[in-house]
Subunit: 591 residues, 2 copies
């Protein structure tokens, strides 16, 4: 079972869930038409399904062998990467100035989902390159941009993102990699980085590392971190590849999943120091890195969506073919396809509903980024930027949790076959498990949401979001569609729970930080359930209005509301009741 | 990080959660004292931690290579298995008559948990042997018992359980393996079985297969299935090993986890037919198999508990050592162990609370089995049998779901290290994934609970259980312990939700089967949350009464009630509201 891009679903979610149609009508994207978007998506879907997807299992079994400092990528990667570059997929949303196509972020997001459906392990490298392009474009000097951006945009070279060190994971401020100023205006880096995705590989002639390091006189913590561009090969004055820089991969990890994505330990400065070039100002590296990280966080959320989509497709195909038992009303003596059994239907609907909700959240986040860049005035751009900031941790954590839940259900639908590696369901389950960890663990996302994003604009950003969701829930109630069951009531309850929990947290942020932190993870889930449910409802309302695909969208909205969003009230209770139980439980954690 | 048996916790859960102390006081187990039990548990804990646990990672990396029909078990398995036999662990709960020790099932259950904590892959074979002993003892002819039971009880030979065929997984009635009567009174079996745990190995000289097959004139479906004992080696008249029987392993599966447990495809009758001996009556094989399966279902539930316990121990140890960030109130400039961070505490408390709840459910099920065998009169035994029947699917499914959830949290607590195989957290995550699938998928357990167990004794069995849980919730409320927070209210709500959902399902069983089936899985979760929460409360009340370990038990009960059982109301809604949304969703499942 391979992957077939769900173009109709993606197109609908873009147009109506994330309001791309309205944005195009308003002229946010200049001359771009929906037909243009559909053409890009169709071609991306073809490339993902035909070229990348077949590499997914090869990558899993071949891995990324490491020898004498070199990584060999799985058979077929090089050819696929060449096709990727030639297809222009690397430059989709990159600036025109550097050879990019300047398409909307939301179109790139839909494509990113497809790349990850096809193969997370393959797509990981390009994903980080795109994030690196954003950071360099936003913060790099004119000279650095001129030297490196075009080749990163074209995909001739790839980028990496190097934050983590053994003692500095979630706590980036604890990093020790050292950068010393040189007479020539450059820097010499020494230190070690771990868990570096695509830190070394054989897909491109050069690899451009984006590295966080600390100057000798830097203040402690995150305020003393600077971002450096460290190429694997230094460049000659004419731009051709010169000497090997003093940076190398030391080893490759043996991981639970994404075996086709090399995860490297990197050594800087074995021979006196790797040459690096400052991006942005000294000691202002965290701001640069956040540009890179926020883009990557949305992309990792889309990994969750992509894996969930692929697992759902595979489980549905299996459930239609596999026959066991006789469902109510089936012919006597005939086995039914297991999709006819209510409990299997519940699993499949859970997979579908969670996937579509996560997709809607991620696309809406991407649209907020587009509006923050292209909105018609400063106020609109600012509001959109706040919205993107608010939604990014939810897009990352909610969607990657869903990626895991859906991949696990995918195994379950397959029964015993799901546990056999050849079936492929187990690989999705393994591959999905990293996404809640990297680019900031989901716990970090929850803390970011509660402590940094809720207070944005004095709480106005989250209030505006909740108002919008409430409006959708009300419109759903007003639609009175009989197929919706209890959906409108459940979504209205969920939004009300979100609002109350938000107020409760905002009140405690300054005075009882631990009370807020103890409920951060359930709060993020509540935020995702309320938002995801309402965005599904928005799509269902559009479908009812247009008379297109309405029964499917109504059914998904109903299922999500009655089975997923219905938990909002319980989660609200957990948020507002849990703190003492979490903080006063030393006795339970001591044994 | 290896495994240390949590003897104090296990002892307390046995005595007070599952009422072993009361049962011993009442004389249910003759002369057995709590000191005897403690001595057995301590020795089991030592064997599990020192002998079995070190094999867990070896088994994972070595696997079970298959060549020329033979399986090689991982290095150290043979020595450990010899120690296992010599320690008497195989015969703990087996009948005295055949060399067993006739200890309570609940004591065996506690030991079973420890074997699985130490290594599910190693413990899988003995687990099925014990189930086979039960089936042969209950249904075998005097001659078969005399010939085989002693050697199975001593562990000289191991047993297997052979139900599944390619077309017959959840639907056992579809099996095709054929058994023909021979002149000698035996049978000749031909056919293929798949997914056979320990179907072939090198730990014992003989392997005794318990095989479901169909006679030529058998009725269709499950009423035409018979159970056969098929030894790998036939026996000479003097009991010594004779000719190789016509049964062989054809291949071994490449699986997501439990790599050290060989999963075989078995071929019967390549050379004309494997000799088999009927157990029980012709066409009555399902009843025999259910004896075996019910015991194995509880044991698989204990796999969930065991894996959850091990993952929790490992995560706790890591969270105490690993330092990142500064928690509220920590010294400036000093990193805190991550256990100090509220979000990490939430994960660890979730792990601990879910593990203890699942343990309490499984031990209580084992106690019901003991009472069904040893109760003082027929009425008590019958009621206990019904209780065991009611609780077994919950023990299996609720606990194995928890095994997965806790193992996944264990990965998350480790951050990036959790995704690296060498850390070991990932192996628990992989190993745990099979338990919701085998011995009847968790969906099958939910259907069994709703359609066969709720109607037991006209609903009186489940009503009695709910009454007991309500009594505990009331006693908790009456205790007024301030450390309990909202626990009493949440548990009372959960029991009330369970009661309403139960009535709703019982009403629909005859008239709207699909409505009942659509809610079966959430109902089982609701049953587990209400029951698990109340059993934790029962332990907390005992701790408060005794003044022993009370703060820890109160904290766990509180956390479980406020964060897990709090979902009962939402799940109740799902059960009673979901049916139309599940059954009328063809449009959402068609794409």
């Amino acid at each position: 079972m391979t992957y077939k891009a769900p173009l109709a679903e993606i197109g609908f979610a873009l147009r109506h869930g994330a309001s791309l149609q309205a944005a195009i009508t308003e002229g946010l994207f200049g001359e771009l038409t929906l037909d243009d978007v559909d053409a890009v998506l169709a071609e991306a879907g073809r490339f993902a399904g035909e070229v990348i997807a077949p590499l997914n299992r090869i990558g899993d079994t071949f891995g990324t062998p490491f020898k004498d400092g070199a990584v060999t990528t799985p058979p077929g990667y090089k050819e696929a990467y060449r096709g990727w570059r030639e297809g222009g997929w690397n430059s989709l949303a990159a600036p025109l100035e550097w050879g990019g196509q300047a398409l909307p972020q939301i179109v790139n997001a839909a494509c990113t989902e497809m790349w990850h459906s096809a193969s997370v392990a393959f797509a990981n490298g390009p994903m980080l390159t795109m994030a690196a392009i954003d950071a360099l474009n936003a913060h790099g000097s004119a000279e650095l941009k001129k030297t490196y951006l075009e080749k990163l945009v074209s995909g001739e070279w790839m980028g990496t993102m190097q934050l983590t060190e053994p003692q500095a994971g979630s706590d980036v401020g604890a990093l020790r990699t050292r950068a010393e100023r040189t007479a020539a205006g450059a820097y010499r880096l020494t230190g070690q980085k771990i868990f570096i995705t695509y830190g070394e590989h054989d897909l491109t002639d050069n690899i451009i590392h984006f590295v966080l390091a600390r100057l000798p006189d830097a203040p402690a913590g995150t305020r003393g971190i600077s971002l450096f561009l460290v190429p694997k090969f230094l460049l000659n004055p004419d731009g051709s590849l010169g000497a090997r820089n003093d940076v190398r991969a030391h080893s490759v990890e043996h991981k639970l999943g994404i075996h086709g994505s090399p995860t490297c330990t990197m050594i800087f400065g074995d021979k006196g120091g790797a040459t690096g070039y400052l991006i942005g100002a000294e000691n202002a590296g965290m701001a640069c890195m956040f540009t890179m990280m926020n883009r990557a966080r949305l992309a990792v959320g889309l990994q969750g969506v992509g894996l969930a989509e692929r697992a759902t497709q595979q489980a549905l195909a299996y459930a239609r073919e596999r026959r066991q038992g006789r469902a109510e009303g089936a012919k006597p003596g005939e086995m039914s396809p297991i999709i006819a059994h209510p409990d299997v239907r519940r699993m499949l609907l859970t997979m579908r509903a969670l996937t579509q909700a996560a997709r809607a959240v991620c696309y809406t986040t991407a649209m907020a980024i587009d509006c923050s860049e292209r909105g018609r005035d400063e106020a609109a751009r600012k509001a959109a930027h706040q919205r993107a900031s608010l939604l990014t941790p939810v897009a990352k954590a909610f969607s990657t949790d869903i990626g895991n839940e859906v991949a696990s259900l995918g195994v379950q639908v397959h029964g015993g076959m799901g546990f056999i590696e050849e079936t492929g369901a187990a690989q999705h389950f393994r591959d999905a498990r990293i996404a809640p960890i990297y680019e900031g663990t989901n716990g970090i996302q929850a803390i970011d949401l509660v402590t940094r994003k809720l207070p944005l604009a004095g709480g106005a950003a989250v209030a505006a979001h909740i108002d919008e969701m409430r409006g959708i829930a009300r419109a759903l109630a007003a639609s009175n569609d009989p197929g919706l069951g209890c959906a409108a009531a459940r979504l209205a309850d969920a939004v009300a729970s979100l609002e109350r929990a938000t107020h409760w947290l905002l009140k405690r942020l300054g005075t009882e930080p631990n009370a807020a932190l103890a409920g951060a993870t359930p709060y993020l889930r509540l935020f995702g359930l309320a938002t995801g449910g309402c965005l599904l409802a928005k799509e269902a309302l559009a479908a009812l209005r247009l008379g297109a695909d309405a029964p499917a969208r109504v059914a998904v909205t109903r299922f999500f509301a009655e089975n997923c969003a219905v938990h909002a009230g319980a989660i609200e209770r957990t948020v507002v009741e849990c703190a003492a139980g979490v903080m006063d439980a030393d006795a339970a954690l001591s044994a």
